[in-house]
Amino acid sequence: MDIIRGLRNRGIGIIYISHYLEEIFEIGDRVTILKDGASMGTYRVDEVTVEEVVRKMVGRDASAFFSRRPVPLGEVWFEVKNLTRRGLVEEVSFAVRKGEIFGLGGLVGSGRSEVVGLIFGTMPPDRGEIWLGGKRLVIRSPREAIRQGIALIPEDRRKLAMLLGRDLVENTALVHNDVFRGPILGRREETVLTYEIIQKLAVAAQSESQLVEELSGGNQQKVVIGRWLLDEYQVYIFDEPTRGVDIGAKERIYELMVELAERGKSIIMISSSMPELLSMSDRIGVMRHGRMVDIVESRKVTEEDLIRAFIGV
């Protein structure tokens, strides 16, 4: 902060981008609020209150929200207790019922993806327990997580999910073949299964032997999700499921999540989109600085409440 003030005093103009309003009010002269790519106005910092700024950050009209049908919730099935990894995640606990969509909200860097990493076995926790169906799980790798019934659709599909240069069959049947099948491939079976997924999710593709990078973003995401529909899992973790996805594919993906919930699956959804978080989740766990600071019912909370919980004002 002192460095920035020093630069400012030397006549250098500073654009300071942050979610943390207390910082903006501490050193800012003027503030411009952006929402969904448009400016909501520019104000002098001494002429506006924190609440007013927060109010301008939220508020979308009803069409941005997807209306999903409710699903009866079953017993608590997946539970995380006191999950801790030094510097990243601190004493995080939450439970997800059968048929529930549990949203994980928070700013970038709040620890949501790290929690998912701890659950899926990409890093070991320092402390804490993971329970599924009344059984304590020990997960030391993604393969073990998959074997135990946990599926993960990662955040950045190009970097973490898509096999570029390979066709739709290889991309779709990846986990099914590797974890649930023997050493010799069933070429006919995997082609049929892929074809069924393409139909079910309405993937716009010319043929299953097309390369995955030739598809549009939304269709690529459908293929990546389809990978996890070939086998039965109990927990589905979606990390930013509709990032870079067109509106038509978005709705199909939401539909799919509700269908999974109806079949009694427990779903965890990380999302940075307010409308998505509020429309799709039954409950939302708010993370801030690595801790789960609150768990709220999505029906009983407004966008403004959520943002304030994310930022901490």
């Binding site: 973490l160 096999l163 590797d178 974890v179």
Partner: protein, 320 residues
């Protein structure tokens, strides 16, 4: 999907190995016109024999490169393994055990390259580069720099001609291509190799062990190198530390010319097969046309560059 068939036809023309086949047929025809001796059975069989050893090495190399790794020590590996095989044959008189030991040694050497790469998180290019010196040094030390001759002792593989014309060594190389083809297209291991070559992170998050897959590729690479050493030793009847030196460039060249990118995740063994044949044909052609043998090296280098140009231009349309 009905459109499947339409796609399949286009795919044929886009494949690098198809271009290769056309080029090779063209070359063969031209050479045959200039020097009709090209098309005699003995010359054609000669070509097949010349590239048999290269074919086996290139098959193993194909697996490794698709998995995203590389081993430039295969030449030195052959040098060391062939010397050990020859020395043991001289000492023992028999050949079964020496061959077995030689093959295990070749496997171990390649595996060592892989383990050091994974263990120290170093590129396999670097670790294999280092092991060139190690293998050569050990070979020089145990042979004291001398030739190990075993003339007449181990000729069968190198000299046998099935039905009196088809060289056994060539049949062994066809076996190598077939095994790699089967592995890559019909097995889970083959899929894993493609997956870790294409996107190791995605493979990991899908339950695949990237290290295990790559080390298996190194293991298989070593196995193929061992078999190639056996065939080479049988043909030459002697071994020295520099035996096989330089084959890594030709093997990698054949793989790349065949359309398998060094970045991994893509490629087919049929490409390697045609890449190896092209080298055999070119070498034979240049001999038939009485071109200076040193220019063969220049030709191989230019060929690799030309094939890189072909793959760059064919993906130009797609990726722009």
């Amino acid at each position: 999907m009905k459109k499947n068939r339409l796609r399949e036809k286009n795919v044929l023309f886009r494949n690098q190995w198809f271009f290769l086949l056309v080029v090779e047929i063209g070359l063969a025809v031209v050479t045959g016109i200039v020097n009709p001796r090209f098309f005699t059975a003995s010359n054609l069989m000669n070509i097949l024999e010349q590239v048999a050893v290269l074919g086996v090495v290139a098959s193993g190399m194909t697996l490794l490169i698709i998995s995203g790794e590389i081993d430039i020590s295969v030449g030195a590996n052959i040098g060391l393994s062939s010397c050990v095989m020859a020395m043991m044959m001289k000492a023992m008189g028999s050949s079964f055990l020496p061959v077995l030991v030689g093959i295990f040694l070749a496997i171990g050497n390649s595996f060592l390259v892989g383990v050091t790469s994974r263990g120290f998180k170093a590129p396999s290019f670097i670790t294999s580069l280092a092991f060139i010196s190690v293998f050569q040094g050990i070979a020089l030390a145990i042979t004291k720099g001398s030739f190990q001759t075993i003339y007449g002792q181990f000729e069968t593989i190198g000299m046998t001609k099935v039905a009196r014309i088809l060289p056994l060594s060539f049949i062994i190389s066809i076996g190598a291509y077939c095994i790699v083809h089967f592995l890559l297209t019909q097995t889970k291991l083959g899929r894993r190799i493609y997956s870790v070559g294409s996107n190791p992170q995605a493979a990991y998050l899908s339950g695949i062990s990237v290290s295990r897959t790559k080390l298996t590729a190194f293991f298989l690479n070593g196995l193929f190198v061992g078999v190639a050493t056996m065939v080479l030793l049988s043909r030459i009847g002697a071994a020295q530390p520099s035996t096989g030196s330089g084959i890594e460039l030709r093997a990698i060249g054949a793989v790349v010319i065949g359309g398998t990118p060094l970045s991994g995740g893509k490629g087919r063994i049929i490409g390697t097969l045609f890449g190896v044949f092209l080298m055999g044909i070119i070498s034979n052609t240049l001999n038939m046309l009485r071109v200076n043998p040193y220019f063969q090296e220049v030709t191989f280098g230019l060929l690799i560059i030309a094939s890189l140009a072909v793959s760059a231009f064919s993906s130009y349309g797609r990726n722009r």
